[in-house]
């Protein structure tokens, strides 16, 4: 033991004095260790530092030495890194989350596209004429199809959305739907949820890697979506299905990427929640599920709507056409006669083959309003002749 440490010191002294400039990587790492040693004086330490920095530069230039240096340093650094990661797990997750979030959102959007294609295919099958006729037959017998009952009962309705700071349980932002607002103090909800979540995670997760995802109460469900510093609690009438969950998480990730700093630094000062944050929050809550269920419904009825619209358009077209059609010749004669009777002009109106002959009473003082008569008659295929 004593001999080896004496040898080490000897080689170090040589290093300090600069006797042998080219040193192996192993000796360099030993040099680093002994830099903290109490055996060296402060002057020797300073000299050693200078020499080590020069030797490092040389080692890096030489590729062979570089590998040795890397390997020996890696052995020292690896356990340090491991313990640092363990101690600062939360900070590291916080730093990595936006990066990972972007990767996850890409995957999520691809998965969502695939799912939508699937849903579209199924919906188009469901909206086939065959199915429509089948439904009509059921309705004539006053029976509801199982699928209809299931579809109506599966529609997700959100009562409220809360964004809550982890651990403190302080409510950052909220949004209500329906009558939920009238029931409970939202800050109380946030605090109690956090206490329940904390309790469940402590009781049932020894390593604290598992988290509470949902609380179910009769016909009411609170779904929990986690973020690094906060979590969303979404109160709805039922559990989300896969498509809804994927869509929800995608929106939440996007929201977090934009506002992670505000969420992370939130300490109860509500003035720091700016208008931009509130608008984004409203958007995320509006885009979640309501649109999804509405879209599915609208797609489901799309074919029927197209058919109805076509019929309506045809009807309107025919109606308009009838209105613009030229007036029957017989009617024209009647209209012209009425015009004349109003003007109290005695004249003879006679319909010939393809024209109307108007013979004005020569004793009449009032001239014929030929323009007016022409306008009426032009609506027909007839012509007008005046005497």
């Amino acid at each position: 033991m004593k001999n080896s440490s004496a040898k080490e010191l000897e080689s170090l002294r040589d290093l300090i004095r600069g006797k042998d400039k080219k040193r192996s990587a192993q000796e360099l790492t030993t040099g680093l260790e002994l830099l903290n040693s109490k055996k060296l004086s402060s002057e020797e330490k300073e000299k050693l530092k200078k020499q080590l920095s020069l030797s490092f530069a040389e080692c890096l230039q030489s590729s062979q030495e570089n590998d040795q240096l890397t390997n020996s340093l890696a052995k020292k650094i690896a356990p340090i890194l491991k313990s640092q990661i363990k101690e600062n797990r939360d900070s590291i997750i916080d730093a990595l989350y936006p990066i990972m979030g972007a990767l996850i959102s890409k995957y999520v959007s691809e998965a969502l596209k695939e799912l939508r294609r699937d849903v579209d295919k199924k919906m188009s099958e469901k909206l086939s004429l065959k199915r429509f006729l089948h439904k009509k037959s059921l309705s004539s017998l006053q029976l509801d199809s199982n699928q209809d009952i299931l579809a109506s009962s599966l529609q997700t309705k959100i009562q409220g959305i809360f964004l809550i700071k982890n651990e403190s349980g302080l409510l950052i932002e909220k949004k209500y739907y329906n009558d939920f607002e009238n029931t409970t103090d939202p800050d109380m909800i946030a605090g109690l949820l956090t206490a329940i979540k904390s309790f469940a995670e402590d009781c049932f997760s020894k390593k604290k890697t598992k988290h509470l995802k949902q609380i179910e109460y009769d016909d009411f469900v609170i779904n929990i979506e986690l973020l690094p510093n906060a979590y969303f609690a979404i109160a709805s009438n039922r559990e989300f299905n896969k498509a809804e969950s994927i869509s929800l998480r995608g929106n939440i990730l996007k929201f977090y990427e934009q506002h992670s700093k505000t969420i992370r630094s939130f300490n109860g000062d509500l003035d720091k929640i700016d208008q931009n944050f509130k608008e984004s929050f409203s958007f995320i809550s509006q885009s979640i599920l309501h649109k999804n269920t509405e879209e599915i419904d609208s797609k489901g009825n799309k074919a029927l709507k197209i058919i109805l619209f076509s019929f309506a358009f045809l009807f309107i077209f025919l109606f308009a056409q009838s209105k613009t059609q030229k007036i029957d010749a017989l009617k024209t004669q009647k209209i012209v006669a009425q015009e004349y009777s109003q003007e109290k002009i005695q004249s003879k109106i006679e319909r010939q083959q393809n024209f109307i002959q108007i013979n004005n009473d020569k004793s009449s003082q009032t001239p014929l309003d030929k323009e007016k008569i022409n306008k009426i008659v032009n609506k027909t295929t007839l012509n007008v002749k005046f005497d």
Binding site: S168, G169, M188, G191, F199, D202, G268, D269
Partner: protein
């Protein structure tokens, strides 16, 4: 008007009067009946003045040592704490140090307020002075959840100090 939310924890040994203090402050009620708190009980109280609106989230944390490990998580990310002891129970006064250490483990920068509850039962200058000697760097308050003395003043003072 500025708006703030703050998490305030109440800690202390079992049956020192934490729940009674909260009830007195939030509901202005008091009951002699003792019901042990399991886990945590959360109450809210809003305080408004001309320029600020503060909402206190008061976490009344159970004092039974059997559940200490579970209740420690409720302390996290708290703005301030009231450590409550019973003026007639010297052991509870001594144990305040454990609660202080426990709290500061999770919230090293938060403020702590020491309180001697049940001042209606006993008024002893000696106890107060001894307690002040035991905890020289902390301000000591006296109050009574039963009579209501000092309760509002304590919480209002905490709320005022929370405003940045």
């Amino acid at each position: 008007m500025s708006a703030f939310l703050a998490k305030l924890c109440l800690l202390g040994d079992s049956s020192v009067g934490k729940t009674s203090l909260v009830r007195r402050y939030v509901d202005n009620e008091f009951s002699d009946r003792y019901l042990m708190t399991i886990g945590a009980k959360i109450s809210t109280k809003s305080i408004t003045d001309k320029t600020h609106a503060i909402k206190l989230m008061i976490w009344d944390i159970e004092g039974c040592s059997d559940y200490r490990q579970l209740s420690e998580n409720y302390l996290k990310d708290s703005t301030a704490a009231i450590i409550v002891s019973d003026i007639s129970n010297p052991k509870s006064i001594e144990n305040m140090q454990d609660h202080i250490d426990n709290y500061l483990k999770y919230n090293p920068k938060s403020k702590i307020y020491l309180t001697l509850n049940k001042s209606d039962l006993k008024q002893s200058e000696e106890i107060i002075q001894n307690t002040e000697k035991m905890y020289p760097q902390k301000t000591l308050h006296q109050c009574s959840a039963k009579s209501g003395n000092g309760v509002k003043e304590l919480f209002d003072k905490i709320a005022q100090n929370l405003i940045p």
